[in-house]
Symmetry: C2
Subunit: 224 residues, 2 copies
Amino acid sequence: MQGTPPHSPAYPPTERTVPTRSPDRAAYDREQVHAILDEGYVCHLGFVRDGAPVVLPTLYGRVGERLYVHGSTGSRPLRAAGLAHPGLPVCLTVTHVDGLVLARSAFHHSINYRSVVVHGVAYDVTDAEEKRRALDALVDHVVPGRAADSRPANRKELAATAVIRLDLNEVSAKLRTGGANDEPEDLDLPHWAGVVPLRKGYDAPLADPGLAPGTALPGYLAAL
Amino acid sequence: MQGTPPHSPAYPPTERTVPTRSPDRAAYDREQVHAILDEGYVCHLGFVRDGAPVVLPTLYGRVGERLYVHGSTGSRPLRAAGLAHPGLPVCLTVTHVDGLVLARSAFHHSINYRSVVVHGVAYDVTDAEEKRRALDALVDHVVPGRAADSRPANRKELAATAVIRLDLNEVSAKLRTGGANDEPEDLDLPHWAGVVPLRKGYDAPLADPGLAPGTALPGYLAAL
């Protein structure tokens, strides 16, 4: 039996990653999943505390097939990940809203979106080298190339920062694209229908008033 | 004993809504919470299935102190809400990313954001009138004023749509604003620091190619 090689082009679907609704919107392609993950700034990390769900927004970074989330060593989810054995069951979700879909019927209103849902168990990162790489990935996730242009974490900061790792094994993307899907009998109704795309981009960077003299806007920000 | 009146200006903090970290970033003001909720398109709904957390992006709407989420009667979370008694424990989170915060030190990189976390129990909406109002709220949440300018759900569509309700009782907002918080000893480092604001807005609406003749772009879209 061969099994799935670690870098097959797609994540193998599981019971949890095959949607009960609109299965045509699900995708398992690694490149597509990575692209959706890399475009986000914040993930929504879900875990169970005292039997109830908790969903918190948090920064993340990706190194190959591993996601990293960091936080204070005093924060609840990270404390739970470090204490729980053998790790903390989590669900990590990243979503981009691309457009508002207005149909002639109220029922068919929707949004265009791309999301990734990762199921798994998060582990506390204890290896110092892996922790450093993870923190670089977290900074580079905010602005690519930024980790190399900032003062690296010192020993005290490293000790105050907990990092948890979630491997990309049980993963799916879900996407909606295109226009309104109205019923044929509604097409002659006088209501406007179509898509309002959401604009993505950046406004001009606001420099800290106390920048050291001669500090120019770096190229990786001008390129945004 | 008087207790908290239902429309006091703030949600009473609970053990779950007081953060262990950065408590200065937490807010409980109803108006502020409503504004953050109303600006979002997608919430991240967390629930527990077979002991593991699940976090799914989904549309939502607000009517006063109630949030509504809808979906197919065949979808997992809604089926769970309908079947479970006395309801489905959920955590519903809405997050806006407002800016990237670049500090001189890697450690102080952050983002500016506004989020709302709602803890509670979701109940299946069975009252026909409440269900209709909830569905209007869901459509108006995508584009205010739109519910009145679309064909209302018919009996078949209403039957195929499940709506769950989550009351706003245990609620908190969390916000980060402002610039980089560098250590005093880092201020002379030659790294650029500041904030890159994320641009919010819309691109020009894309009309469905099959609009009925004479259908103009409605004012509520032109105003976007």
